[in-house]
């Protein structure tokens, strides 16, 4: 079996894996990172979105062997690099999804937040329409999307204001 080495949420994992193993099943079943969810088998729903080498990727469309040598961030590593998830360490998107009620059942939320991380990296000041189009690969059945859009907008404001403060300090 092929051997892979992949750094996930700050920890390096080395494993032998079946060549056909999907990366999302590697995350969930092999190393127990169950924060990343599976909602479909056709790459439509985006529940499994993670960041691979700085770009969002649906981890159900990726084989574990393709992640060899990559640096991966999942929802569980977003709050802090060691993933304790304490509220003070939350990413502005995690906070904004909470304050804007951008989630209900929460099953799509990890993917929605990770896709938003990528969206805001490319476009730090998106319009509502740009947010909607940026998230079209992620399905939510609970919220009707309005509060997700609001959450991303709120997080973007917060991230811009932090960047400004940091810029001023330098």
């Amino acid at each position: 079996m092929p051997r892979i080495s992949v750094r996930i949420d700050g920890t390096t994992y080395e494993d032998e894996v079946e060549a056909r193993l999907l990366f999302v099943h590697y995350l969930r079943d092999k190393i127990g990172l169950t924060g990343t969810n599976v909602g479909c088998d056709t790459s439509n729903c985006g529940a499994c979105t993670v960041i691979v080498d700085g770009h969002s990727a649906k981890s159900c469309t990726l084989l574990a062997v393709q992640a060899d040598g990559s640096e991966v961030t999942t929802i569980q590593g977003l709050a802090t690099q060691n993933g304790s998830g304490r509220r003070g360490d939350w990413h502005p998107l995690q906070t904004a999804f909470h304050t804007e009620h951008g989630l209900q059942c929460g099953y799509c939320t990890p993917g929605m937040i990770m896709a938003s991380v990528d969206l805001l990296r490319h476009n730090p000041d998106p319009t509502d329409e740009e947010i909607r189009h940026g998230l079209e690969g992620n399905l939510c059945r609970c919220t009707g999307y309005q509060n997700i859009v609001a959450a991303v907008r709120t997080a973007a404001e917060e991230m811009r204001s932090r960047a400004q403060t940091e810029g001023a300090q330098q």
Partner: protein, 808 residues
């Protein structure tokens, strides 16, 4: 002319709401408290059923029929057993002794046909996806691989897919049922329907099609059964809305004693009715775990979900309305065919019957005639999907009201206003026999018109029509009500439903003064932990953060009727309030003893008992909790600890209502429909948490709009589901849905002491007809009188072509 900006108005109202909530820290009910549920959900520290890994756990996969209708002539699992990692494999015949049929609990007519529904088929398969065998392997990939090696011999039979054909005889879905008719439910009420229609000035008749929908909770179903074989005890984790009902039913289906089964609904990722059921795989996981003595997990893929999890809607509705020439409605006839699919699931037959009382909606009339035939076909069974019977009723009614307005040449809102129940007439007993608790249709409508700029849009519409613009503007109205809070046990009994509708709660104060609420509701996205905390915190006078809520585990919350039908707050929330009030009454006795005062001399406010007239003599409820726990000095005969129960069974349903207005732009050359603005003013009685209520409305709107514009489950004539994956079944994404403008009026319910009504289904019920009415309104002057849902570009374009007599 200054234009009203509806978004600004609504957002200002919401800001005011938020400020009001924040100002009064002592009051939780009515405030926008942020959800306690979110911390684990936004960090991925969740426990979905599929996350569960147990020592020795095996994975189960189900061999499903690729044919809609066939006789099984042989099932051979021997080759599968040879595959790597495979531990066991069972055919339907192998397991037939382990269980009886899956339950259906709603006998809607005494002569209803209830065919046997085994978890695995043994004689015939009756829909594509019907289970015939299971394989059990060490991991999920090996189990999936082994499915290919189970050899099933089928003798194909003709499939019956269309309801009207099914009723004409020929192919029988069930050999032991004499026709494909499951039931014929008839409910004429009020004045004589034929005389009413004969005497009316105007009669309008229409046929509407409620397409089949796929509920698509984003978390697929999943089950884990952990046996303690030596003790014949089982813990079953399931992505279910109904752990309590599931436990009872699994005991009955598998013959396992009820007290030996514990059902846990861990974190559950949405349901919308699709997890309100007792499924084959839940029974199979239990009996296979029993056979093998090892934990069993089954998780469906999305494609499997589309075959094996219930579908929604699928009705043919023949509707007729009679009115006098001044616009007074005289009577309604609603005759339905409802597709059951191949088998009856838990409440399959009850879904159209939940709509039976709602075809008169908010309107007064003399005569009413409801009839519904349930029909078996070779398709996946239908059951409750968000709204369950009421969206269908509301759609047919609100659509035909618009058709009647055209026939009478009346303004559609004026026609509604002329006929609806006036605020001063509540409580009002409708022609269908229900007594609506409260409502103020005038207030909700006036508010919606203001937010929508109704008159301005009508003017713009007239101008665009006059100019013959390519893109035409349409305005759609839906003034709805619904019955919710599935509840009064007495009423459910009279409808031959298999259970009651009460809900239970326990509230206890721990020695350190923190509170625990145990509820029988089973949330899967609705935020009960937050809302129940708000209710309990206010009654107990403790901080919101000091309350936790326990749910979804039959060992920890042994009594409950679970979550569906917008019932949880109006029934379960009240149980929490009543249990907390009982606890305060006991605490009062202890406090009186501690303060050496008479109970009647104590005031209870802000979490403290004070002696009237000498407020320095006081005990906080936390002091009392510790004293009741220590029990060193309690009143004679009093039981230690502060804990109390309440089971609430309301006298009546509650009836939320509202007015939804939709404006669409329709491109007459491409058929494309774009929602330009959507205003929803809902009245759900008193509100516990405005943020959660808005969220419920948004999500409901999305699903109702999806039915109007996007979604349809399609079968080919051989019974293959051709929208079998998320590629083919179009669940709308963020770019497909509009910004909703929502607001509320507040008319308290009289059915419960909090004055609350349900909100989970309202948005779905109201929105579908608002959107379709808008589409038709945009095209009416071009000769279009109906478009079948979903109003896709193709359907709209074809409707325009047909109206044009085929001319482009």
């Amino acid at each position: 002319m200054s234009k009203v900006d509806p978004e600004t108005i609504a957002e200002e109202a919401q800001r005011a709401d938020r400020a009001a909530g924040d100002e009064d820290e002592g009051r939780n009910v009515g405030a926008r408290r942020l959800r306690k549920e979110d911390a684990k959900l936004v960090t991925g520290q969740t426990r979905w059923t599929d996350n569960i890994q147990l020592p020795g756990m095996l994975h189960m996969a189900v061999v499903r029929s690729p044919m809609a209708h066939a006789r099984i002539t042989g099932v051979d699992v021997s080759a599968a057993l040879e595959q790597p990692g495979v531990i066991a494999a069972f055919s339907g015949a192998d397991l037939a002794e382990e269980y009886s049929g899956l339950p259906t609990v709603w006998t809607v007519t005494p002569d209803m046909a209830t065919p046997t529904h085994l978890p695995l088929a043994t004689d015939k398969v009756r829909y594509v996806g019907d289970g015939v065998a299971v394989v059990v392997a060490r991991d999920r990939y090996s189990a999936a691989d082994a499915l290919e090696h189970v050899v099933v011999d089928y003798e194909p039979l003709d499939a019956v897919v269309d309801m009207e054909e099914a009723l004409q005889g020929g192919t029988l879905v069930h050999d032991d049922v004499e026709s494909n008719l499951c039931f014929d439910f008839q409910m004429p009420t009020g004045a004589d329907i034929d005389e009413t229609f004969a005497a009316a000035d105007v009669v309008v008749e229409r046929r509407f099609i409620q397409q089949r929908l796929l509920p698509t909770a984003i978390e697929p179903r999943s089950v884990v059964c952990e046996p303690i074989a030596a003790a014949d005890e089982y813990t079953l984790y399931s992505a279910t809305q109904v752990p309590h009902i599931l436990r009872i039913m699994l005991a009955m289906v598998t013959g396992t004693p009820e007290h030996k089964i514990r059902v846990v609904a861990p974190d559950v990722g949405g349901g919308f009715g699709s997890k309100l059921n007792v499924y084959a795989e839940e029974a199979l996981a239990l009996v296979v775990a029993k056979r093998l003595g090892r934990p069993i997990k089954w998780t469906e893929s999305r494609s499997e979900n589309y075959q094996a999890t219930i579908h929604g809607r699928d009705q043919i509705q023949d509707i007729a309305i009679a009115a006098s020439s001044d616009g007074s409605i005289k009577g309604i006839k609603a005759h339905l065919l409802a597709d059951m699919g191949a088998y009856l699931q838990l409440v399959t037959t009850g879904v159209p019957i939940l709509g039976a009382f709602m075809y008169c909606g908010i309107y007064k009339m003399d005569a009413y005639d409801f009839r519904c035939k349930g029909v078996f076909t070779n398709k996946t069974p239908t059951d409750a999907y968000r709204g369950a019977g009421r969206p269908e009723a509301t759609f047919a009614l609100e659509r035909i009201i618009d058709e009647l307005a055209v026939e009478l040449d009346m303004e559609p809102m004026e026609l509604r206003r002329k006929n609806w129940i006036r605020h001063e007439e509540f409580p009002y007993t409708t022609v269908a026999g229900l007594t609506y608790d409260s409502g103020n249709y005038e207030a909700a409508t006036d508010r919606s018109l203001e937010l929508f700029d109704y008159d301005g849009l009508r003017r713009e519409q007239a101008e665009r029509r006059d100019r013959g613009d390519r893109v035409q503007l349409g305005i759609g109205i839906s003034t709805y009500t619904e019955m919710c809070g599935l509840a009064p046990s007495r009423v459910l009994g009279s409808l031959s439903y298999g259970a009651g509708g009460w809900e239970s709660a326990t509230v206890r104060l721990l020695p350190t003064g923190k509170a625990e609420v145990v509820t029988g509701t089973s949330p899967h996205g609705q935020g009960h932990v937050t809302s129940w905390s708000q209710i309990a915190a206010d009654v107990l006078g403790v901080p919101f953060d000091d309350v936790d809520v326990v749910h979804g585990d039959t060992k920890m919350s042994p009594a409950g009727m679970d979550t569906y039908g917008s019932r949880s707050l109006a029934v379960g929330g009240i149980a929490v309030q009543k249990a907390a009030e009982r606890l305060v009454e006991k605490a009062r006795k202890v406090a009186a003893h501690m303060l050496e005062a008479a109970e009647d001399d104590l005031e209870f406010a802000d979490g403290a008992f004070r002696v009237r007239g000498s407020p320095e003599a006081s005990k906080t409820i936390q002091d009392v909790a510790l004293a009741a726990f220590a029990a060193h000095d309690l009143p004679e005969g009093m039981e230690p600890t502060l804990s109390s129960d309440y089971t609430f069974d309301p006298e009546n349903f509650s009836y939320p209502h509202g007015t939804h207005l939709c404006a669409v732009d329709v491109d007459t050359e491409t058929g494309e429909v774009v929602i330009r603005s959507y205003v929803a003013v809902d009245d759900v009685g008193r509100v516990v948490n405005p943020q959660i209520v808005e969220g419920q409305v948004h999500g409901g709107l999305a699903q109702g709009i999806a039915q109007a514009l996007y979604e349809e489950a399609i079968y080919d004539p051989d019974g293959n589901l051709i929208t079998g994956t998320l590629v083919d079944y179009y669940v709308p994404g963020a770019p497909d849905l509009p910004h909703y403008v929502t607001d509320r009026t507040e008319t308290p319910s009289t059915s419960n002491p909090l004055g609350v009504k349900g909100v989970g289904e309202a948005g779905t019920i109201a929105s579908t007809p608002a959107v379709v009415n808008a589409v038709i309104d945009a095209l009416r002057h071009l000769g279009v009188a109906d478009v079948r849902m979903p109003c896709s570009p193709e359907r709209v374009w074809r409707a325009l072509q047909n109206a044009n007599g085929g001319r482009q």
